[in-house]
Symmetry: C2
Subunit: 183 residues, 2 copies
Amino acid sequence: MSVDRTQVLRAAAALLTRKATATMDEVARAAGIGRATLHRHFAGRDALVRALEELGIQELEAAHDRARTAEGPADEAVRRLVAEVEDVAPLLSFLVTENQLFEGDQQNDGWERLDARVSALFRRGQEEGVFRIDLTPAWLTEAFYGLIGSGAWAVQDGRVAAKDFQYMIVELLLGGARRSVEK
Amino acid sequence: MSVDRTQVLRAAAALLTRKATATMDEVARAAGIGRATLHRHFAGRDALVRALEELGIQELEAAHDRARTAEGPADEAVRRLVAEVEDVAPLLSFLVTENQLFEGDQQNDGWERLDARVSALFRRGQEEGVFRIDLTPAWLTEAFYGLIGSGAWAVQDGRVAAKDFQYMIVELLLGGARRSVEK
DNA sequence: ACCCGATGAGACATTGATGTCTCATTCGGG
DNA sequence: CCCGAATGAGACATCAATGTCTCATCGGGT
């Protein structure tokens, strides 16, 4: 009888990922519950988005942990990270675009932690001579998120096969589009 | 006395680029005109966005023309294209996210033309042996837009210096993050 | 200097979403 | 089996944005 909060959040994520402007009513229907019940669990749309933010951050942190980004060669760590992040990618891209709207408001500091972890990975790679040093960690982090988002969207839209998600992102991010002379 | 339609569009673009949810009233104020006048020129918010879409497409096509993407080595053509596209980047990223909302509605076929041009550039590069063939032109096109958007946003947010915009994007897109062994 | 068209300001009705409330129903634990 | 808590459905007030309208004003062209 009691509503499973996490399940509601997943349904909301699945819907909002596809239609960012979905109404509270649509979210409720998608979750298979009444609008009143949705309001009982999440005070309003803001609260819902905040909760989704929490969920996304949690899953991203978990992905980082699983990828063990502090271990081994940095490029392989990036590869593992992209693989682990794939499932959260749609939610991530939703939250990123959603966050652009929350102007100067209080920013969930979970993002800072995540940024720091990604950024640290790229910095480590630079220090170990694996990554180029002329691209700043900040930019590489930004590009990382951007490509994840683009990839998620391209897959959702059928322009890229889901099985190629990881490969396309990792190869472009690490190796770029130019044909390598050496290989 | 008469309102300059293009100037209004530019003001609207400048505002909506920063705050995508800006109200018609805010847009009017930003353009220095009355809300009624804004409505006289653009029937509604949709019409305004459509007009911005037209503007963006026009400017992107112009950028393509200036970049002469059909001439010379493909990688240098990409470099020129990124340079020419820089000014339109914020508007582009606004339109891209805005377009995600227009679900199945009629899609402006200008986008298809642009996609085709970018895609053709990457394909040409592949055929001429300049670009890797294991990344599909469709994905490279998607990534191109994604990186342009990420770059524009990073600059607007101060995480990347404006003067580095072109370099960061082109270098990552063409060369990737991995340090090249050969150089 | 005059006149006509365009503009700005504001009033107004409408619409869509939100948030609150009530009440009947239902599910589950004791 | 029964009671209480949670739910679903819907009514309702509210709010913000939109779109329309009017009217006074302004400005350029003749």
